[in-house]
Each structure stands twice: as C-alpha cells, then as structure tokens.
Amino acid sequence: MNALLLLRIAEVFALLSAFSFGGVNALLPEVHRQVVEINGWMSDATFSDIFAVSNAAPGPNIIMISLIGWQLSGLAGLVVATLAAMTPSCLITFTVTRLLKRHSGSRAIKLFKEGLVPVALGLILASGVAMMRTADTNTLLVAFSLATAAFVAFSARNPLWAFGAVTGLAVVAQHFGMM
C-alpha cells in the first residue's frame, strides 16, 4: 500500500468534489484529464472500461470514482477515493441546507425554493435526452427509451418492470440479429 499515492488520490478527488457543479457526468472531462493525462494513472482504454462498467452497475454515478480508486490501490484506494469525492460536496450541502432552514419561514427562501423546481425538472429531462444520445445507437434502442419513458411517466408501477423488459428484449433482439 502506497501512502503517497493514497494522499494524491485524496487530494485530486477532494478538490474536484468541491467544484463538481452538475455532478459526476458533467465533470467527466476533468476526471479524465486528471486521471489519464496529468497523473498518468491509467490508459485511455482502461478509463473507458471503468466508465462503462460503473454505468452498468446500479447506484450513484460517483461509484465511477470509487472504481478508479480500486483500480489504483485496491480496497484502500476505493475507500479513500469515495470519501474524498463525497466529503467536500456533502459538507457544503449540509452547511447551506442548515443556513436555509434557519430562515425557512421567510418569503425570500420560499420563492428561492419555488424557483428551483422548474430548474430541476428541465435539467432532469435534459439529462435523459443526453443519455439517449449516448445510449441509443439504433432505432430499436430509441423505441426502448421512449417506451420506458412513457411507462414511467404514466404508470405508478415500479419502473423496474420497464427496465427489465427492455433489457430482456434487447437480448432477444440480439438473438434475431436486430441489434
């Protein structure tokens, strides 16, 4: 176990965390620059593989950073990278939330929170379209995305039904040479 390496991992990801507006996916180019170009920790191909695998796994996108830590220094690397990537942003959020709560009765804070609602809706929809653009490499996959969206939007059932169905259908489509 290399203490200096762990320290450097902590430094890189803690700094990124404090400035990670827009979450992990928005930060992807900068993570790539740090991990592949500046520190030379892994090849381009390994970085792409880590991105694909962490997107195939369930959970917050931050697990990509955890996997980079794992690849660099095993369990210790995973723990250090994960905590470094989470702690600054969570502490900032916690502090801001507490400050806002202290003034939660004021009209200004209520209007601020009201104003954030449409911002969140627009951004979530936009990130769905961005994901479609990356994921849907053929017409069938576009149809899968739209069908899943309709199911989730207009049914109260667990979205896992739609998610499981399109995953299964993709395997069937592959079998008949339609992918």
């Binding site: 959020t93 916690f94 801001v96 954030l116 969140a120 627009g122 769905g128 989730v152 979205p159 169905a165």
Partner: protein
C-alpha cells in the same frame, strides 16, 4: 406526538423533526433501508429511483418538495441526488440521518461495481452481455425522461414555471449549452417568475 402542522411549516426548533408527507415520523432505520433500496435499484443513476421510493412508495416527501431539494442539489457542488439525500437525512434525523442516507445508497453499489469490474474481463465480448448492457442503458435514459415528465404532471407548474423548465431543457438537452452558466442564469430568472406568479 403527531402534529400535522409540521409537514407544512418545517419547525424552527431542531429538537422536533418534521414529519413525512404522509404525516409519519421517519426513523434512522427507515432512512437507511429506503436508500439501500434506492442504491440497489439505481440503474442509470439514482435520481429516478430516489423519486420512486421517496415520493411514490414511502411518501416521505411530496413531488414539489423532492424537486425543490434536487434543484438545490443541482446548484451546489456534488451529484444532485446525493445532495438531496443529505438534505433528506438532515430534515428527518439530523447528522445521523445524513450518514444513514449516504451509507445506504453506496453499500450495495460499491460491492456490485467492484464485482462487475472483476468479471468484466471475462464476459465483455459475449454478444448477449453487450446487448443487455445496451438495452439497459436505453431503459435508463427512458427512466430519467419519464421521471421528469411524471414530476411535471404531478406538480402542474404555473405557466411561467413551465416556460422556464422548457427553456432550460432546450438549452441543455437540445442546444447542449454548458451547464453551469445556464443554471446560474436560469435560477434568478426562475425566482423572478415565481415572484411574478406569487407562488409564495
């Protein structure tokens, strides 16, 4: 003691935690288990699953409260849903609640992702595996879009709010403008819209 008023006006006293949207007290155990499920389901990111479990299934928050937290999470550094989970933990159980929400959402995914990474070398070239991963990614994209549409249906934004949401979607999703300047510009405009429509 159940006091229904606390759901509407979050308490000024830190000793009494607010109740859930369904008027219940939320325990640390429930926070951990709820977020364990969110992490376990969270294919393609956890935002749609967080809404499903928190709003639809367990009724901890209303759609509008959840959207407001994700919106605030968006303008702060860090993943927006993880930021929202910090707010949710703090709202119901303070610092221990925050730790429950964070550890709950990461516990299973960290095990799964390292397991997948170890297996990946062996199975990446099997066509069925590749097809399943592609199908899953297409489903995840649909999931995220469907969640936004459903939230909009439930919240029924006022006309100007709808306009602001549509403009942000067009700027980021269609024109692919950079996120940070768009959000920095959109938040004040959205607040002005809220003032004009007297939403508070």
């Amino acid at each position: 003691m159940l006091q229904a008023g606390f759901t509407l006006s979050p308490s000024f006293m830190h000793t009494e935690a607010p109740l859930s949207a369904a008027g219940r007290v939320i325990t640390n155990r429930e926070l951990f288990l709820g977020f364990l499920k969110i992490g376990l389901l969270g294919f393609g990111g956890i935002a749609p699953w967080a809404r499903h479990v928190i709003v639809e299934e367990r009724k901890w928050l209303t759609d509008a409260e959840f959207a407001s937290m994700v919106g605030l999470g968006q303008v702060l550094p860090g993943p927006s849903t993880m930021n929202a989970s910090v707010m949710i933990g703090d709202r119901f159980k303070g610092v221990p609640g925050v730790l429950m929400c964070l550890s709950g959402q990461l516990a299973v995914p960290l095990l799964v992702v390292t397991g997948l990474w170890l297996l990946y070398g062996h199975y990446a070239l099997v066509p069925e595996v590749k097809a399943a991963v592609m199908g899953g990614a297409a489903g995840a994209a649909g999931l995220v879009m469907g969640t936004a549409i459903k939230m909009a249906r439930k919240i029924q934004p006022a006309p100007l709010a709808l306009l602001v949401g549509a403009a942000i979607f067009a700027a980021i999703g269609l024109l692919r403008w950079p996120l940070v300047p768009v959000v920095l510009l959109a938040v004040p405009l959205s607040i002005i819209a809220a003032v004009l429509e007297k939403r508070a």
